[in-house]
Amino acid sequence: MSASVLDKVAEPEFSPHLTQFIKDWKDKPGSLIMILHQLQQQFGYLPRAAILKLSREINLPLAKIYGVVTFYHYFKLTKPGRNNIQVCMGTACYLKGGEDLLQELENMLGIGVNQVTEDGEFSIESVRCVGCCGLAPVAVCGTVFGKLVPEKLPEILGKLKAGGEQP
């Protein structure tokens, strides 16, 4: 990585909470994943520039961080939509129609899994078991939508788009 590339990226601001967390944890063994969680919490994903900055602050090679980030599904390298809809694909949800929900969402939004709509409003994520098997099939976006049927999706998308208020 040449210095010129680094220079072009505006250095992101770390929140005081994050800065303190990094300070508290950086010398503990095996702290990288805990720090990455905090980083993702602040930005909603892991922006390249933020990882570059972190790499310098905790003195870990970028390659090591990249290796860890790409190993775990939880860490995201691209910015999700304002409403990131997680469709559960655990076994109970799968059996009760989770895949139909996913397909219907993809059709309605015109995007695939892990993609974001052009206006940045929605993204779709397929997740493994959110632990509400009694409510299968479920989708999560801020709140949990249980026993969901594709017919209810237009209403939910409408309300999510309308604003912060969760339906």
Binding site: M34, H37, F71, G90, A92, C129, G131, C132, T143
Partner: protein, 595 residues
């Protein structure tokens, strides 16, 4: 006036996601408003186990049992039931059309259950250590610290016959003893709360409903093994469980039950939470330790076992949440009591997350040796919608599928393994006649392939090959030779994979080839999916003799491929049909044919 009535609100994830938190808050404010705040205590508890009908509110002492309670119902319950003593009829749980109190419902559901692990779930407020203590909490730790030597604790756990509940069933006492035997300046206790099996949420409910039981057990384990540091490795996807653990740890530290010089005994033990990040393979113990060390969670060859060289090269004992939750009770009531429950080789109880096509989804805890039939029919209430039972899947992606002939198999480690499945961590998923075995197996393979860490070739390549063959079969393009190939790859993976993820990936295929080979052959020989699930093998058409031309199907069709005049038979254009089944669901006249 003293507190004389209790209002227990379920705060498990299933109920919380249906706004039980608002129910709880509204009940509290209603109690204040009606001036009964000093007589009625509103408590938020852990999971009751009846996730199907949540949110759940239980009233004590009269044991009334409300289901499906909405936040706006809270005021009525408080005003009518708790103030005037008049039950709110329309919210009471009904059995066979008549109202039934908790007692009746519980007797139906609990008759086969024995609650050791879930002893406090749905009873205590998990965020109040006093409630845990009032139910003998930390008495097991006290007994260990002051009445027993570390080796006596290990002997007691060994004598109880407790085996690991994470799936493999390794004797817990032996694991502790091996860890203790390894000479080292530091040892570690790890609680494995990386519950990743799709369809399983036993550990989550235990942590949410009774976090102190796990903290107490870890401290006992630390004392027994001579470890002063513990880690709880938990999924980041479980925010409520993490929160309750943090609250519990704070409270036990303040009370001297955790930290330096516990209860004045001179024994120090600290616990730290480490978050997972969505990698199923990290449930494997060597991968889990890699993850705690901040690395990619890839399994390491064994030996050396973690009891010899584990976290940062130090001897480490890794126990699952459910295993640990048994420990305080074993110490308090004694190994003989624990060993009296269960079968000769599997002692105690097992918690199952019962889901799928069943009437009562939820958490159940039964003594080892209970049969699948008792769980599915007596506790689970049988198959939803009067459909026919097809099979039960146990052990998640590592387990197998058992047909009806094994319904009377008593559940223990050995008997499940003998019939080609495994105990696993406790997901029990019931399949009915509408489920295609090949499709379900493909679902599990898809999961295992995605979760393979890619380190060893048998898992990385073998899993992918198996998935490709299954996909081919569900598209009607498979051959009989493919079945033999799948068997061979499966056997190779079982023997040659580095860790149990790869070693168990072929299990769903191998077990279903044993009992449901005909269903595979039906896909291969006749390009026919008996359950009508595999979309490439089915077509939808309208039975002209039954269609009355109501146009409902045409309006439901998302791709407008159904045409026809009102009051005359309709027609589905097979070229445009996406086989979503919406017309089939919508038709009230059984005029849509799936073939």
């Amino acid at each position: 006036m003293a507190l004389n009535q209790f209002c227990l609100v379920c705060g498990g994830t299933g109920c919380e996601s249906r706004h039980s938190d608002a129910v709880y808050k509204n009940l509290k404010s209603a109690a204040e408003e009606l001036g009964v705040g000093n007589q009625v205590q509103v408590v938020k508890t852990g999971c009751f186990g009846f996730c199907e009908k949540g949110p759940i509110v239980k009233i004590l002492p009269d044991e009334s049992f409300y289901v499906g309670v909405k936040p706006e119902d809270a005021h009525q319950i408080m005003a009518e039931h708790l103030v005037k003593g008049l039950p709110v009829e329309h919210l009471l749980h009904k059995t066979h059309g008549h109202h039934s109190g908790w007692g009746e419902y519980a007797s139906q559901l609990y008759q086969k259950q024995v609650r050791i692990v879930l002893r406090n779930c749905g009873i205590i407020d998990p965020e109040d250590v006093q409630e845990y203590i009032s139910r003998d909490g930390y008495a097991g730790l006290e007994k260990a610290l002051f009445e027993m030597s570390p080796t006596e604790v290990i002997a007691e756990v060994k004598a109880s016959g407790l085996r690991g509940r994470g799936g493999a069933g390794f004797p817990t006492g032996l694991k502790w003893e091996n860890t203790r035997k390894t000479v080292s300046d530091q040892r570690y206790v790890i609680c494995n709360a990386d519950e990743g099996d799709p369809g399983a949420y036993m550990d989550r409910s235990t942590l949410e409903g009774d976090p102190h039981s796990v903290l107490e057990a870890m401290t006992i384990a630390g004392y027994a093994m001579g470890a002063s540091q513990g880690f709880i490795y938990i999924r980041a996807e479980y925010p409520l469980a993490i929160h309750r653990l943090e609250v519990a740890m704070q409270q036990s530290r303040e009370m001297g039950l955790l930290g330096k010089d516990i209860l004045g005994s001179g024994f120090d033990f600290a616990i730290e939470i480490r978050l997972g990040a969505g990698a199923f393979v990290c449930g494997e113990e060597t991968a889990l330790m890699q993850s705690i060390e901040g690395n990619r969670g890839m399994p390491q060859p064994k030996p050396p076992y973690p009891s010899e060289s584990g976290l940062w090269g130090k001897p480490t004992a890794i126990n699952n949440v459910e295993t640990l939750a048994n420990i305080p009770v074993i110490l308090l009531k004694g190994s003989a009591w624990f060993a009296s429950i269960g079968t000769p080789t599997s002692k105690g109880t097992k918690v199952f997350a019962l889901t799928g096509k069943i009437n009562n989804s939820g958490l159940v805890e039964v003594p080892m040796g209970t049969t699948l039939r008792e769980i599915v029919y007596d506790i689970g209430g049988g198959i939803r919608g009067g459909k026919a039972f097809k099979a039960v899947q146990s052990g998640g992606p590592s387990g197998g599928v058992l047909p009806a002939q094994f319904l009377d198999t008593p559940i223990d480690y050995e008997s499940l393994t003998k019939v080609g499945s495994m105990m696993g961590s406790g997901g029990l998923i019931v399949l009915d006649e509408d489920d295609c075995i090949v499709d379900v197996v493909k679902f599990y393979l898809d999961f295992s392939v995605e979760e393979s860490c890619g380190k060893c070739a048998p898992c990385r390549i073998g899993g992918r090959k198996l998935l490709n063959l299954l996909t081919k079969i569900t598209k009607g393009k498979g051959t009989r030779a493919d079945i033999e190939t799948m068997r061979q790859i499966g056997f190779a993976m079982q023997r040659a994979s580095l860790c149990m993820l790869g070693g168990t990936t072929p299990n769903p295929i191998l077990s279903t080839l044993k009992y449901f080979e005909n269903e595979y052959l039906e896909h291969i020989d006749h390009q026919h999916c008996p359950a009508g699930k595999c979309k490439d093998l089915i077509t939808y058409s309208v039975l002209a003799s039954k269609c009355i031309g109501c146009t409902v199907c045409a309006r439901k069709c998302p791709v407008n491929c159904i045409s026809g005049e009102r009051k005359s038979a309709h027609f589905i254009d097979p070229a445009k049909c996406i086989k979503c089944g919406a017309c089939y669901e919508a038709c009230k006249f059984e005029a849509i044919l799936v073939s």
